[in-house]
């Protein structure tokens, strides 16, 4: 357990291992060009140990960094023949990566500020319904409408007859996560646009099933704004407002 500091930040708060390392370096007021590898490795591993559940997808990258830290430490302990020629600090590679990452991270904060300002400006093209009853002429789409659109699209795809080398398998779970991620970032997903971007028939079919599953468990809703318009998929309100 970490007793050296009063507060502990959860691992999820970090974008990745570099982010966590930078945080520890700043917290310990360490000079980035002269990192005490043993100290930082201990701190770093402590953070990993704090996890109750292990999420392998994310953790792998954190573990990779831990092994790199330990490797660097071992390199520093080894007596080296060419001591005199000063063949370079084994830490240098890590320092370079940290400095690069630090820049990207800082720049992304500046971009966030710009995004904030731009979001406060509105264009004429931004036209959501001003009417108070938002669901006016929205039509919830039936399974058959969806299937029909989907098959029409697939026929079109077949005609394009693109040769693609199969390299990847798609899982339902992965696709569902992807669709939800898109919905969390954009307010909606355009049915036609989304399927046009699918690379293979196989991927499109898995996506379609994922979408149907999401509709079945009522996480999302498929809506047509009016007849003959494109179909849009939205998150359902209840599952959307997770904070409240």
């Amino acid at each position: 357990m970490d007793t050296s500091s009063g507060y502990q930040v959860r691992l999820e708060a970090f974008e990745g291992p570099l982010d966590l390392l930078l945080f520890l370096i700043r917290k310990k007021k360490i000079d980035i060009h002269d990192i005490p590898i043993a100290t930082i490795t201990r701190e770093y591993l402590e953070y990993l140990n704090h996890k109750e559940r292990i999420n392998l997808d994310r953790e792998a990258e954190f573990l990779l960094m831990a092994s790199l830290l330990i490797y660097i430490k071992s390199q520093m302990l080894l007596p080296r023949e060419s001591e005199l020629t000063e063949e370079g600090d084994p830490r240098q590679m890590l320092v370079d990566r940290l400095l690069d990452y630090q820049k990207i991270k800082a720049a992304s904060l500046l971009l966030r500020e710009k995004e904030d300002v731009e979001h406060m400006k509105w264009q004429r093209t931004f036209r959501p319904s001003i009417s108070t009853t938002q669901e006016d002429d929205l039509i919830e789409v039936s399974l058959f409408d969806l299937a029909e659109s989907f098959f029409a699209l697939m026929k079109q795809k077949k005609r394009e007859n693109i040769q693609i080398i199969k390299g990847k398998e798609y899982s339902l779970e992965e696709k569902m996560k992807e669709i939800l991620a898109i919905l969390n970032e954009n307010s909606f997903l355009d049915f036609l646009d989304y399927f046009k971007e699918q690379e293979t028939l196989e991927e499109a079919i898995v996506s379609f099933f994922s979408l149907l599953e999401l509709i079945r468990v009522r996480t999302v809703i498929a809506i047509q704004e009016s007849l003959f318009r494109s179909i849009k998929v939205w998150l359902r309100k209840a599952s959307h407002s997770k904070g409240n």
């Binding site: 974008e15 990745g16 992304s108 904060l109 971009l111 710009k114 093209t125 938002q134 992807e178």
Partner: protein
């Protein structure tokens, strides 16, 4: 029409649903020289920046469009009944920043820069058309290479990639964080 070039251009920008580029204006107004058009545009932008206007003409990615002034945002959101616009996730923003500064760049390079597998984030950014594929690298595996788009510039209100936060601005942020 010579003496009303500024108003003429104003009307062109007004009816455009997409940001209007100087090139496009030049094609429509072929009887005017590039300098005349540039000058009129400058005056027009200056006119709208006055406090007596609620809207302004912004220039991003070398194109012009009308937008409201940022200070009126709270009331506009009330009118449109929108609580907030969706922001990019911090992962998406970080990935964009990596691409913007290191482009043209491959997925493997982006993931190495961030220390995190970026396959999914990249896909989201492609879908949002903030980045695009510009070809393949001539290296083993011939990986795809990515660049930021004009939509990226417009999204952040930048005129060109040269207007990205500079080295000085970045080091200032880093100083403040210490």
């Amino acid at each position: 029409m010579e003496n009303r070039l500024k108003e003429l251009i104003e009307s062109l920008i007004f009816v455009s649903s997409e940001p209007l580029s100087t090139e496009r204006i030049k094609i429509v107004l072929e009887e005017f020289s590039r300098e005349e058009i540039e000058q009129a545009l400058q005056k027009l932008v200056a006119n709208y920046s006055s406090d007596e206007k609620g809207i302004e003409i912004t220039r991003s990615a070398g194109s012009y469009l009308f937008s409201t002034k940022p200070e009126f945002d709270p009331w506009i959101r009330q009118l449109l009944r929108i609580e907030r616009k969706n922001k990019l996730s911090s992962a998406a923003l970080e990935t964009l920043s990596a691409i913007a500064y290191h482009q043209p760049v491959t997925l493997a390079e982006i993931s190495a820069l961030r220390g995190v597998d970026s396959t999914h984030t990249l896909k989201v950014l492609l879908q949002k058309k903030l980045i695009k594929i510009v070809g393949r690298k001539k290296s083993p595996g011939r990986p795809l290479i990515y660049r930021t788009t004009d939509k990226f510039l417009i999204y952040f209100g930048l005129n060109s990639i040269k207007e990205l936060p500079t080295e000085e601005e970045i080091s200032k942020i880093l100083e403040e964080e210490k």
